[in-house]
Subunit: 325 residues, 2 copies
C-alpha cells in the first residue's frame, strides 16, 4: 500500500469539512440509538450490539455529504434510514452465512438465534421506512425502496452463484451492483433534491465508489491482515462466495478453476488465499478498485460542485480504497 497510517475516512473528511459534518454524523448516531432503544428491550438487546459495534458509517457520511451544508433534518433522517437498512441486511446476511462474529462482536444470529435475527432484521428494515416517512419525501422513500429491492436481488444472486467456481466476472459485477453499489447510489441522491444532471453525476459517483468498496472488501478477505480486518482470511471462500480476486486468479492459475469450495476448511481456505495472492490477482483487483475511484472522481466533475466540496468528495472516494476494515 505504501502508507504506514491509513486515515479513518470519517475523521479525515470531518476535519476538512469543519464542524457541520461531525455534528450531523453525531445526530445520526443519536438517532440510531433512539430508534433502537425506543422499540423495547427486545430490539435493544438484539440490535444494540450491532449498533455499539459501530462501523464505518460510509453510507450516512455519503448522504450528509451529498446533501451538503444546507441538507438539514431531511438529510439526517435519510442518513439514519439508510444505515438502518444497511444494519438490517448485515443482520440477515449473518443468518445466511451462520457468521459468529462481525466487527469482533457476536452477531445477532449467534447471540439470539436464527428466529430472533430474522425478526430483528425485519424490524430494523421496517424502522428505516418509518424513519424516512416521518419527514421524508416520496422521492426519498421510492429511492430507498428501489435500493432495498436491489439489495435483496443481489443477495438472491449471491445465493444462486454460491459455490460456482466458474462464475463469470460479468455476473460478479452485476451482483455487486445490486448488493453493494445500489445502496451507495441511493446514499448519494437521497439526502437532497438536485437538478437532473447533478443527480445523474452523483448516482454515477455512488455506483463507482460502491463497486470500489466491494472490490477492496474482496482484497481484504484474501490478504487481511486479520488483526486489522477483524475476521479470518478466506471467509468468502468458506461461504462459497467466488470473489473477484479468485476470478482474476483463475486466469493465471487454471487449477484454481477446479476447486471444490464445499470441501474447504479454515486452514485450506487460507492456503487458497495465499495462492490467489501469489498470482498477483489481489494487486490487480486493488488496481481495479483504484481505477473505479478515478472513474467516480470523473463523474464528480460533471456535477457543479464548489471547489471545497469536491475535495471532500475526493477524500471520501480515496478512503474507500485506503482502508483495512
Amino acid at each position: 500500500m505504501g502508507r504506514s497510517s491509513i486515515p479513518e475516512p470519517v475523521t479525515a473528511v470531518s476535519d476538512l469539512a469543519g464542524a457541520w459534518l461531525p455534528f450531523r454524523l453525531q445526530r445520526v448516531e443519536e438517532r440510531l440509538v433512539e430508534v433502537i432503544d425506543g422499540h423495547g428491550e427486545r430490539l435493544a438487546a438484539a440490535a444494540g450490539a450491532t449498533l455499539a459495534a459501530g462501523g464505518k458509517r460510509m453510507r450516512p457520511l455519503l448522504v450528509l455529504l451529498c446533501a451538503g451544508r444546507e441538507g438539514g433534518e431531511a438529510a439526517i433522517n435519510a442518513a439514519t434510514a439508510i444505515e438502518l437498512v444497511h444494519m438490517a441486511t448485515l443482520v440477515h446476511d449473518d443468518i445466511l452465512d451462520d457468521a459468529p462474529l462481525r466487527r469482533g462482536r457476536p452477531t445477532v444470529v449467534a447471540a439470539a438465534g436464527r428466529s430472533r435475527a430474522v425478526a430483528t432484521g425485519d424490524l430494523l428494515y421496517s424502522r428505516a421506512f418509518a424513519e424516512l416517512t416521518a419527514v421524508g419525501s416520496e422521492d426519498q422513500v421510492a429511492a430507498l425502496a428501489a435500493a432495498s429491492v436491489a439489495l435483496a436481488q443481489g443477495e438472491l444472486a449471491q445465493r444462486q452463484d454460491a459455490f460456482r467456481i466458474d462464475v463469470s466476472a460479468e455476473r460478479y459485477f452485476r451482483r455487486c451492483r445490486l448488493k453493494t453499489a445500489a445502496l451507495f447510489e441511493c446514499a448519494c441522491v437521497i439526502g437532497a433534491s438536485r437538478p437532473e444532471s447533478e443527480r445523474e453525476a452523483l448516482l454515477g459517483f455512488g455506483r463507482q465508489i460502491g463497486l470500489a468498496f466491494q472490490l477492496l472488501d474482496d482484497v481484504l478477505d484474501v490478504v487481511g491482515p486479520v488483526e486489522r480486518t477483524g475476521k479470518a482470511r478466506g471467509t468468502d471462500l468458506l461461504d462459497g462466495t467466488v470473489n473477484l480476486p479468485l476470478i482474476r486468479a483463475r486466469d493465471h492459475d487454471p487449477e484454481l478453476a477446479t476447486l471444490d469450495l464445499r470441501r474447504l476448511d479454515g486452514p485450506a481456505a487460507e492456503r487458497i488465499c495465499d495462492r490467489i495472492a501469489a498470482t498477483g490477482a489481489t494487486d490487480q483487483v486493488r488496481a481495479e478498485a483504484r481505477e473505479r475511484v478515478e472513474r467516480a472522481k470523473g463523474r464528480l466533475r460533471e456535477a457543479a460542485l464548489a471547489e471545497g466540496d469536491r475535495e471532500l468528495f475526493e477524500l471520501v472516494a480515496d478512503g474507500v480504497v485506503e482502508r483495512y476494515s
Copy 2:
C-alpha cells in the same frame, strides 16, 4: 358452528358488491403476478409457489372495500403492497417455524433453503414499498411502514414468549395486536383518505376483525378439521406458541399450566388439543372471536357508510369467523 357450508368470504362479498370488487381483486392478482414475474427467475421460482398457493386475500379485500367504489388505482396499488408485505412475513415466519407446508404446498424455506427464503422475504418486502411509492401518497407509505414495524415487533414478542406456558392473556393480546391486527388496521385506512372520525372508526373495525381472525386461527389449530385447514392440529404447540385456547383452558384444567412444550411430538400435541377442547376453551375462544366481530360492527356504525356498503363490511366481518382455513 351450526352451518354445513361456509361461504368463501371473497366470493360472497363479491356477489353482493357487484362487478367492481371482483374486477379490482383480479387486478390485484394480476399485479402480484407481474411483480413476482418481473424480478427475474429467482424470485419467480422462490415466491411463485407462495403466490400460486393463493390465500384468502383478506387484506387486499379490506383495502379495496374500505377504499370504496371510487378507490381507483391507488387502492389497487395499496392492496397489492399490503399482500406483498403479508407474503413476506409468511415466507419469514416459515423459516422461524421450519414449516414444511403452507396451504398444502412446500414453503419457500422447504423448497429453496433458509438462505434463499430470507432473501426472498426481503425482496417481497422491498417490492411492497416500491409498489406503494410508485403511485402512493406519503401517508400510505407511512401507514405501511408503521404496520411493518408492528409485525416485526409482534414476531419478536412471539419468539420471546415461545415455550412460556404461563404467558398471560394480556401479553397474548398485545402480541396479536402487533402481529395480526396492525396489518388489518392498515388495510382499512391505506386505500383512500377519509375524514378523521371515519378513519378512526375503520381503524377500530380493522383491529377488532384482526383480533377475531387470529382467535379463529387459534381455534382451528386446536380443532381442525385437518382436511379443511390443510395443516396438522397442534402446530402452535409444537412451535412453542401458547395460543388463547390453551390460555383459557389453563383456568379449567390447571395441569395444562405445567406442560413442557419443548417435549411434545405430533401425537402428544394432538392429545393436548383434545384436552384443551374438552375444557370448553375452544368454544369460549370462538365466542370471544364472535364478540370481537360484533365490536367491529359497532365501530362501523361510527363511520358514515351507505347502507349497501355497511352490509358488505358486515359480511366480511362475519367471514372472518365463519371459515375453516
